[in-house]
Symmetry: C2
Subunit: 292 residues, 2 copies
Amino acid sequence: MAATLLKEQKDISAFVDSIDTFLLDCDGVIWAANHVFDGVQTVLDLLRSKGKRILFVTNNSTKSRKSYLKKFQSLDIHASAEEIFGSSYAAAYYIANVLKFPKDKSVYVIGMAGVREELESEGISHIEDDGTNLHAMDEMATIKPDPRVGAVLLGFDLNINYKKYAKAFTYLHADKNCHFLATNSDLTFPAGGTVYPGTGALLAALSAPLDREPVVLGKPHQPMLDVIIAKYHLDKARTCMVGDRLDTDIEFGKTGGLKTLLVMTGVTTEEALKKSSIQPDYYIASLGNLQP
Amino acid sequence: MAATLLKEQKDISAFVDSIDTFLLDCDGVIWAANHVFDGVQTVLDLLRSKGKRILFVTNNSTKSRKSYLKKFQSLDIHASAEEIFGSSYAAAYYIANVLKFPKDKSVYVIGMAGVREELESEGISHIEDDGTNLHAMDEMATIKPDPRVGAVLLGFDLNINYKKYAKAFTYLHADKNCHFLATNSDLTFPAGGTVYPGTGALLAALSAPLDREPVVLGKPHQPMLDVIIAKYHLDKARTCMVGDRLDTDIEFGKTGGLKTLLVMTGVTTEEALKKSSIQPDYYIASLGNLQP
């Protein structure tokens, strides 16, 4: 069914009344680079004043919730760390509460500060390598599986190297019971007007030689939604995913049985929306227009 | 058609008479780790004495032909650098003679000494990064495409890092005319009784975020065979690929229209051979038995 445009005041009010929780993508919805879209702060305040729960849902694994909050503060957007739900936190929550990871086990981490901080916030032991690499092929023999490792978690890592790949591979190849997790699978990320290889690219190097696929804790993969639903006990019928991308945000919400709202301030044009097989329930020019 | 076992003297002699050039895989055919199979040296000498051309065809990109020769010498196998045909050399030959790469252009290299040495042997200019990595996300902006780069060549690289990935991606993403090449696509390689992520794994991280596939200069990909045929002007009907793997060596030869001989000293068991849809023309217990 084609998406319904939210434009008339009464339609916007009726829509907002039907929703208790808004899951908001950030880039292309709240801001673009360092520009906050007009009216967004007003809408966030209005929704909160009506008792709506707001969660900022991001695939960015390099920052913890606390650290990501600084981005909001730098843009003068009111938010609290409790309203931020990143893929690193989703992974840590999943390991602690879904896997019920044994206390004597460790997670081998490929990733940056966001992953480490969120694992620590959930009290999960973790092991990682420094940036030093192997120097010769015969050092391969120095890679010995650490019996404490019960899971491998890969997030974006600017310091990825062969030693990390070889160790992560060794854990997952040698022990089929070792959990294989990734924060997200975005193949690229935007920066400086272009794109660069993202977590999904780094993940491809690890999953290609293994005959197994990771559990991915980012959009559009459902384990991230499972974690959000489990933590907040949300009523799916009264939860709306708001995003600017059809193949991640809207797909994520639709597969999960949520309501979905596409904003036209990001990557999706009206023409692309019309042509797509992925149709949100609603679309709106900007989140800033969602003023009930 | 099921493979024919070479066991009787007259069959072996008739087979050898029908072939001018033998393309020999090394690991599992000539040797296993540091053990040379019985009779192999005798067979190599016999074939040479009958005027047969021998080429050792290897996907290992970390060593140049000269450097790989040292492996033969260390195992007391008579061979010359001219008889060795590695994937790094195949890539260099392809760039020089098939692409007819302009002299004012450079190849951006992810790889080790083998790749560098073979590019130099063909007089091809190349650029690579040292092992230093990016330290912060905002250093991404320091990645500027070098206009001299007209091709990206990826081989196995123990010093792979994010900066190399980001640069290689930037060249290939920004310029669709920039050639995308890889020495081989083996997902793993054996070492110390286990396996580690191979060139194909590293390649996956680069090709996943691009909407293009590389030309691969290793078995079972045909560009490697095209290069061998072009260089030596071989008669395919009188050329035989000898290997221990059905999905690389035998597939390589069959797709290319060569005769194929499977040896049972490597990874393929008789039971696996019977079950496989890939059937070589002939099979033999060991290359050491090929005594006409």
